[in-house]
């Protein structure tokens, strides 16, 4: 899928200092990865990252060292959630009541597990179907390789919450995969 930049000319960039370039810019891919997985759309991700980078530049004076990746990802996340509430598309407002989503970890079929190990497309699909807070947990842990502590810092949650989110996210992901695999084997099994 080609990344299509919006046709409208971007707003003028403020001057970028050498320290910002050295400390923050190396994490532009990380910022994009999180924004793109949250927004599930190139154009929206573009808006989120652009806005987040502008905020990062504005608040860079208040960055007191530490992990710039965690700092930037927290900004990306906040930017995404504020932009989302401004224009709330229905499908993004899935309620997430942790008590309703009881942690019932059924065993997946062996067939499903064998298939998922080889099919990136199925994994991507299943991950995109997860509700945002869970998708975020998986993306930060498995793709961005953050520790629980880093995820807690990025999302502003307690470590215990990170742990339970991640546990539920994985159970749900396994479930989604079983569904995906079920559908795939109905249609075509190459």
């Amino acid at each position: 899928m080609p990344n299509e930049a919006p046709a409208a000319s971007p707003p003028p960039q403020p001057a970028i200092g050498a320290r910002f370039e050295a400390v923050v810019l190396p994490w532009l891919d990380a910022a994009w990865n999180l924004a793109r997985w949250l927004a599930r759309d190139d154009a929206d991700a573009q808006d989120v990252v652009q806005e987040a980078m502008l905020r990062a530049l504005r608040y860079f004076d208040s960055f007191r060292g530490g992990d710039a990746r965690v700092w930037l990802l927290a900004i990306v996340r906040n930017t995404y959630f504020t932009m989302r509430t401004r224009t709330p598309p229905g499908h993004l407002l899935e309620p997430l009541d942790e008590d309703v989503h009881v942690l019932s970890d059924e065993q997946a079929s062996p067939e499903a597990l064998t298939l998922l190990a080889v099919d990136v497309g199925l994994l991507r699909q299943a991950l995109e179907r997860l509700p945002p807070p869970w998708r975020e947990a998986i993306v930060l842990r498995e793709l961005e390789e953050c520790s629980y502590k880093e995820i807690a810092a990025i999302t502003g949650q307690r470590i215990g919450t990170v742990m339970s989110r991640l546990a539920r996210a994985r159970v749900r992901l396994k479930l989604e995969l079983t569904h995906c695999v079920g559908e795939a084997s109905h249609h075509d099994l190459r």
Binding site: A15, L28, Q50, M163, A167
Partner: protein, 265 residues
């Protein structure tokens, strides 16, 4: 520990986030409980599948976005305050084009010609690295084995590139491809550092004198290191942090000077 506890703690255990006591309790429980052990194996598989797909699932920022956010560093630097804006205008004009098309536009060459040969080479190397990141373009031969990659170049180039194994230093080989820099065919090797890719370009130098000096430049968020050694040009491009890339270059130079380099005493 009872089965109800493992639902949550199992994942922290898989992620190596439990303390020693909890870890031991979990291992104990898994040994005695077949149902929990089966669940642990399933999630371990799921995690492994995600790890294998990580490179495919990880979304990288489009080149145009990197462009927009990276101030350009020319060799002869004009006043800094003006530059980010001008760069962004140039790239905004080009933003609609696909990256590959962009590299072929006359605009690009006009920009390039105004600067020195070194800067042109750096431009070329970064472009080639970016182009290689497009799906399906990364590798002509994908292998982590230097003894597979090196012979692959036989007969495709008028020289034999040096291929060294740097997996021990944390930079596993991913493969190789043919590429062109400055109008000549070069060998490109691809190494990995976690999620980052490192391209190493090699070709014979016109003059055999070794210049040990490592020249470093940064462009579009990529670091480029270049040097000449034993009659070979080396250009290394990556988006890993500069310190890591310098460490990579140092490892590469050390190994190259060792067993594989012809003509060294």
């Amino acid at each position: 520990m009872i089965c109800a506890d493992t639902g949550l703690l199992l994942h922290a255990w898989l992620d190596d986030e439990l303390d020693v006591a909890q870890s031991a309790a979990m291992a104990d429980h898994l040994q005695g409980c077949a149902a929990c052990a089966a669940r642990a194996r399933e999630h371990e598989r799921l995690r492994r599948a995600l790890a294998l797909a990580q490179l495919d699932l990880y979304r990288r920022a489009p080149a145009a976005l990197h462009e927009r956010w990276t101030p350009r560093h020319d060799d002869a630097a004009p006043p800094a305050a003006l530059r980010p804006r001008r760069t962004s205008t140039v790239w905004a004009a080009a933003a609609g084009f696909a990256a590959a098309l962009l590299l072929a536009t006359p605009l690009f060459y006009t920009v390039q010609q105004r600067r020195g040969a070194g800067a042109a080479l750096v431009d070329d190397a970064v472009s080639s690295h970016l182009r290689a990141l497009q799906p399906q373009h990364l590798m002509d031969v994908a292998s982590t084995n230097q003894h597979t990659v090196k012979p692959w170049f036989d007969g495709k180039l008028d020289f034999s590139p040096r291929v060294v194994d740097l997996a021990g230093a944390g930079f596993p080989l991913a493969g190789g491809r043919l590429d062109a820099l400055n109008g000549r065919s070069v060998a490109a090797l691809v190494y990995r550092r976690q999620l980052h890719l490192i391209s190493v370009y090699q070709w014979p130098a016109a003059t055999p004198d070794a210049s040990a000096a490592l020249r470093e430049s940064r462009q579009q968020g990529y670091t480029v290191l270049r040097w000449i050694e034993d009659g070979m040009h080396y250009v290394v491009v990556s988006d890993v942090d500069p310190a890591t890339l310098r460490q990579f270059a140092q490892e590469l130079r050390q190994r190259t000077n060792g067993s594989d380099a012809p003509g060294t005493p």
